[in-house]
Symmetry: C2
Subunit: 224 residues, 2 copies
């Protein structure tokens, strides 16, 4: 029923041979459920007490707002695991409604069985811990970035991070537009702020190359 060659491509089972994976699944209880296109797989608010991995097909995650309208959040396809961040932790309910966008095969492992799996295989344990930890780290970085209120601060943080120790010209790979989107601001606002920083003697710009002229004053911007 399970397809080890597919599942071992999943971030959780990465590095495990299909044979070992097959053997592992023999030691635990699990289900393989099939869904047809447009079938509901989980509802927002459902308790998340089992690990779900897409073995075949693709699904979409939607969120219902308070007035009942649905907004698509994400598309996922095999061999991806669903909602790994909500299997453990305080708030272990699905935040989204998941439904099939094609015929789907889903491997469902009850939480206690998955815990057993983690104990049986150190590689899976590491993979899973890495998955959640990386997510937390990613979110933490993103949050730190958003904590800078002004565009000037965001630019300063970005450039100082990118420059590291060296007092050199930084090459920005992205266009102004992409940079603006990353900062969550509009393109003209970014351009204006860059212009202001040039006038203030903080930086020099030449197309995609930016030179930091006054590291100390840049830092002071980040303090407020």
């Amino acid at each position: 029923m399970i397809q080890p060659e597919i599942l071992c491509q999943s971030p959780i089972f990465r590095g495990i041979s299909p044979n070992d994976l097959q053997e592992l699944f023999r030691q635990i209880h699990y289900q393989v459920k099939t869904y047809q296109k447009n079938d509901l797989i989980t509802m927002a608010g459902d308790v998340c007490d089992r690990l779900l991995i897409i073995q075949e097909g693709s699904v979409k995650a939607e969120m219902t707002d308070y007035s009942g309208k649905t907004i698509k959040i994400e598309d996922m396809a095999a061999p991806w695991p669903l909602a790994t961040a909500f299997l453990f932790g305080k708030e272990n309910r699905f935040p989204v409604t998941v439904s099939a966008t094609s015929d789907v095969e889903m491997v469902s492992i009850p939480k206690p069985e998955f815990v057993k799996m983690l104990q049986l295989n150190a590689l899976i344990l590491n993979n899973y811990l890495n998955t959640i930890s990386s997510r937390a780290q990613f979110l933490s970085q993103k949050l730190k970035f958003l904590s800078f209120k002004t565009i000037k601060q965001k630019i300063a943080h970005y450039l100082l991070e990118k420059a590291g120790d060296r007092l050199q010209t930084v090459e920005v790979q992205q266009s102004q537009g992409q940079l603006a989107e990353m900062f969550g601001v509009t393109r003209p606002s970014l351009a204006r702020t860059l212009g202001e920083m040039v006038q203030e003697g903080l930086i020099e710009t030449d197309r995609r190359f930016i030179k930091i002229l006054d590291k100390n004053r840049m830092n002071q911007l980040l303090m407020g």
Copy 2:
């Protein structure tokens, strides 16, 4: 050397009896290190390849900015674990410099040994997974909150979340000032916006009680 009665208060060892914990520690390699006040414990950038738990005393975490100045981030005391989010994941380096603010005893468990521990004891495994997952969930919530640009949106989201299904008066436990801090805005701005929403017929306010009058229009605010 280790003090099981203290360590089992730690979120990671919660629910384990001191005896069981003692027995567990017998099966793995670990160190107990002592530091004097003001000693450096870890430097920002150090590879985080061991779990550190404060067994006695207190420490502070500081971050060095790009110009070399240090900013205090956090204070921690026994029996708290350090940097649980950085033991696994892609970026497993300490983001902060940790130093002792009193005489400190620190239990140091190498990562492979801690993994062994997780495999030996399902409760510790659950505790650790819960710790990281809760953190990711917390950050995710915070991030979602910050994604609302205007104060009106933040208020709407907060109230709708708090109200749930019922169309009732919501009691806000916090003062306007605390609420403002939570939203990352200033108190007068929050008060002004609340006033505007009253005038627009969206809500009614009476001290710490807020009544939602028009749920649909509140939702439309969140769409933009």
